[in-house]
């Protein structure tokens, strides 16, 4: 029995280590869980892109389930998710609000007119203050906000077909 243990113990320790590494490999250290999930979306009132004098606030969407998508013209990964946003906008499944983060109006407009504008409204956060309130640290980020104005989910990094199919759309459907 004892010699058996001598061989089995290192194997057992090895298996435990493999287990830890296997889990660790699937974790993304860049994804920091947001403390804002299940909290009311921070209030703001920001100018609407290219519509002088017009502003938008999250209260304007009260009673609707909507997505707040943080993007910028300088953000490469935003282009990856752009086709998916266009598709979402065409299908009319959920209203999209864009937050043009730390960007100039001209460049933001340039990207939208070139690649298409999936947003119902685009607001501009030129100095990134609203971004701080929303805990933005890597663009793009997308927030699912429910009818009562509570953040229900935060996607860090570009939306993928998978995250759309398995997380965002089922959640939106459930909330609607």
């Amino acid at each position: 029995m004892k010699p058996m243990l001598k061989y089995l113990l290192p194997l057992a320790i090895f298996m435990v280590l493999v287990g830890f590494f296997a889990v660790g490999l699937k974790l993304d250290p860049r994804e920091v869980p947001s403390p804002l999930v299940d909290k009311p979306a921070p209030a703001f009132r920001l100018p609407v892109l290219n519509e002088a004098g017009k502003t938008f606030a999250p209260e304007d969407m009260r009673g609707k389930v909507w997505l707040l998508n943080v993007w910028a013209s300088w953000c490469g990964a935003c282009r990856e998710e752009h086709p998916l946003l266009m598709e979402m906008s065409r299908s009319g499944a959920v209203p999209l609000v864009g937050l043009d983060y730390k960007d100039t109006d001209a460049e933001g407009t340039g990207v939208l007119s070139q690649a298409g504008n999936p947003y119902q409204v685009v607001v501009t956060d030129a100095d990134g203050r609203v971004g701080i309130d929303y805990g933005v640290y890597g663009v793009p980020e997308t927030y699912v906000i429910d009818k009562a104005g509570v953040i229900r989910y935060k996607q860090i990094g570009p939306i993928t077909e998978e995250s759309m199919r398995t997380k965002i759309m089922p959640l939106v459907k459930g909330l609607q």
Binding site: V32, S34, P35, D127, R129, I132, Y134
Partner: protein, 142 residues
Amino acid sequence: MMRKTLAAVLLVLPLLVMAEARPLGEDPAVEARLKALSTELRCLVCQNQTLSDSSAPLAEDLRREIRELIAKGMTDKEITEYLVARYGDFVRYRPPVKSQTLLLWVGPTVLLLAGLGGLWWVLRKRNSLLPDENDNENGEEA
């Protein structure tokens, strides 16, 4: 002669306009607090740097934000809580002790104790395998 005068003028000119480099912020006390606070906070863009070390645009924005919060008269604790409310405990380099972070805090001690326990166990076993050299030492184990 002409060149000498010119050189002298050029040499003296900087002395007339020289002044001490302007600090980034207005108030040195605010800067000192910002410095102390931001070495305790993590930059979320480049995660292994402190806010104080990082030159990422977000770190600059956050330093500006902290400067403004200090000017508003908030305490260091309030400012840290303000950031934790937005970015989570992850922004703190010293995570608070709570059920979620308990393993993080006691883990190293547990590992150390387990290692010492293992060492003791192995040494004791090895000792009992050794031929008796000193009767007094092995007497207890027999």
